[in-house]
């Protein structure tokens, strides 16, 4: 058990390191030096040189890389060129919007997707299955940011139940939560659609297994067999997909935050791009990539808990 954990931890760290190297090479070594990008094409060479020195760009690449990585451990990620504040604080501040948004979306997606998928599997090839599968097929095709626009059109512009965007801050918790509802619903739609399909096929997959027949022979009720036996055993593929879909959830958050004008990390990345703030872009990219890698690592670990058979192996 400890051996498996250590190996997984090792490959997790290695993946993180390679990702950071990749970002560093893209953002720091490729043509189009940070100082020149920041100052624009009209800048004089001596101005660029001065800024290079200020940003530490005159140092060798490996020193710059090590400074960045070492800084990440002590919470010093450098200073944003456009905001003039430490990037670490900037990201932490924006996380207070993005994390609750993603969590709400994930909650909505699971609350809709898993029961509908189980329902579809239990009524395989009957009307409920057709309805759930059709809903899933359409849900996957609808762009989340467009669905957000439609929600604004319906619930803000027409019905005026919600504001069309913006974020009041967590000083007013109810107002803050309310302003995250529409974006979370928009973000949840494609995720729910995918979860319906995966849950359905995972439950169908195990439904022919011997332990289901045993449960039926024991005379258990249909509901108990479905939820205690079929769904329990279908959890591994469901959790896998939640993990794999996480990168789409993040990508969706970047778009949805821009639709609803939410001051989250996605919007920060986008604003940093228009300001040509490479320090922010580099760290936000690392943050997102790190998050995806972390989630996949946790999903990997969760198998050990979800499927006791794996614990014994290796």
């Amino acid at each position: 058990m400890a051996g498996i954990l250590l190996r997984r931890l090792g490959s997790f760290t290695l993946t993180l390191l390679i990702a950071s190297l990749l970002i560093f090479v893209c953002m720091d070594l490729l043509p189009g030096n940070a100082a020149a990008i920041l100052l624009g094409t009209a800048a004089r060479p001596d101005t660029i040189a001065a800024l290079e020195q200020q940003l530490g760009l005159d140092q060798p690449a490996y020193i710059r890389y090590l400074t960045w990585i070492a800084g990440a451990f002590i919470g010093n990620l450098g200073e944003s060129a456009s905001y003039g504040v430490p990037v670490g604080g900037l990201i932490a501040e924006r996380l207070a919007v993005t994390l609750p948004l993603a969590a709400m979306a994930l909650f909505i997606a699971v609350a809709i997707g898993v029961p509908m998928g189980v329902w579809a599997a239990a009524r395989w090839r009957k009307a409920p299955d057709r309805i759930a599968s059709g809903f899933a097929q359409v849900g996957i095709a609808i762009p989340d940011f467009w669905f957000g626009l439609l929600l604004i059109l319906t619930f803000s512009t027409t019905l005026q139940w919600f504001s069309a965007g913006g974020f009041p801050g967590w000083q007013t918790p109810l107002g803050a939560l309310k302003s995250l509802i529409l974006p979370a619903v928009a973000l949840a739609l494609p995720q729910a659609a995918i979860l319906i399909r995966v849950t359905r096929s995972a439950v169908l997959d195990v439904s022919g297994d011997d332990f289901i027949r045993t449960a039926q022979a024991k005379g258990l009720t249909e509901g108990r067999i479905l939820w205690r036996h079929a769904v329990r055993n279908a959890l591994v593929p469901i959790v896998t997909i939640i993990g794999l879909q996480f990168s789409f959830l993040i990508a969706g958050a970047v778009l949805v935050e821009n639709v609803f004008n939410l001051p989250g990390i996605g919007r920060l990345a986008f604003q940093a791009l228009s300001q040509r703030d490479l320090v922010v872009i580099r760290n936000v990219a690392m943050f997102f990539a790190g998050l995806v890698i972390l989630v996949n690592f946790l999903v990997d670990l969760s198998y050990l808990w979800l499927d006791p058979r794996l614990r014994a192996r290796r």
Partner: protein
Amino acid sequence: MTAIVAKPRRPWFGPHFRLHLGMSITGVVVGMALLSLVWTPAPPTKMRIAMKLKPPLESGLAGTDQFGRDIFSLLMSGAWNSLSIAVVAIGIGVVAGVALGTTAAAKRGFIEEIIMRFADVVFAFPAVISAIMIAALIGSGATTPIIAIGLFNIPVFIRISRALAQRVWSNDFCLAAQAAGKGAFRITTDHVLPNIAGGIAIQATIQIGLAILVEAGLSFLGLSLAPPSPSWGRMLGDAQTYLSQAPWMAIAPGLAVAIAVLGFNLLGDGLRDKFDPRTEGGA
């Protein structure tokens, strides 16, 4: 529970309903895109300020935008732009991904480990994030979404082609070819590739749909084709400003994206149902 193990009934629509519906929708979308190269109801980039923000049917099939451009013509040209970016991006993903994936299956060991680790790392970058990094370096334009979406699809095709190739390699005819003295490269080109091509094509169809979706998002953020090239995503970005005045500007392009994606997804699923019935309705 009996419902789950019940004998399959013949569905009330044809056995290849998804395939046929997908083919029809994709056919219409591709047809519109090709038609836009030679004919659109109105010149898609021509501004007619006097005709601005006209609702559907009052001017053109889908109304006009803030510059009086005909939205239906913009949608048609947008279809071409969106499709060509998606196809090129997926092409990159397929070529690079299949090359690496089949290499991993053929070589095993250390090389396979490196390739799969590379796939893990690249997969950690959502297309939007790599597009933002690429746009910071080279600006926006068609290249940015092509690289970002292509890059994200490389690990997708590494994984699927490796899994498919491993299945082929376990066949006796590969063993026979090895015994006949064929090298790993020859076996891959002669036996593995022809056997995995169908599976790859099915996955590529579905990924094209996904690429259209992602490209719309990128161009919504202004990370794709620059104006005045018509683009579904940018039309949605413009529409946001006029949401209460001209809601049709927001509805039509989103519908176009959804229909195109739905078509490619149905086509991919339908092809899988037809050629690989084991994974009925799979993920």
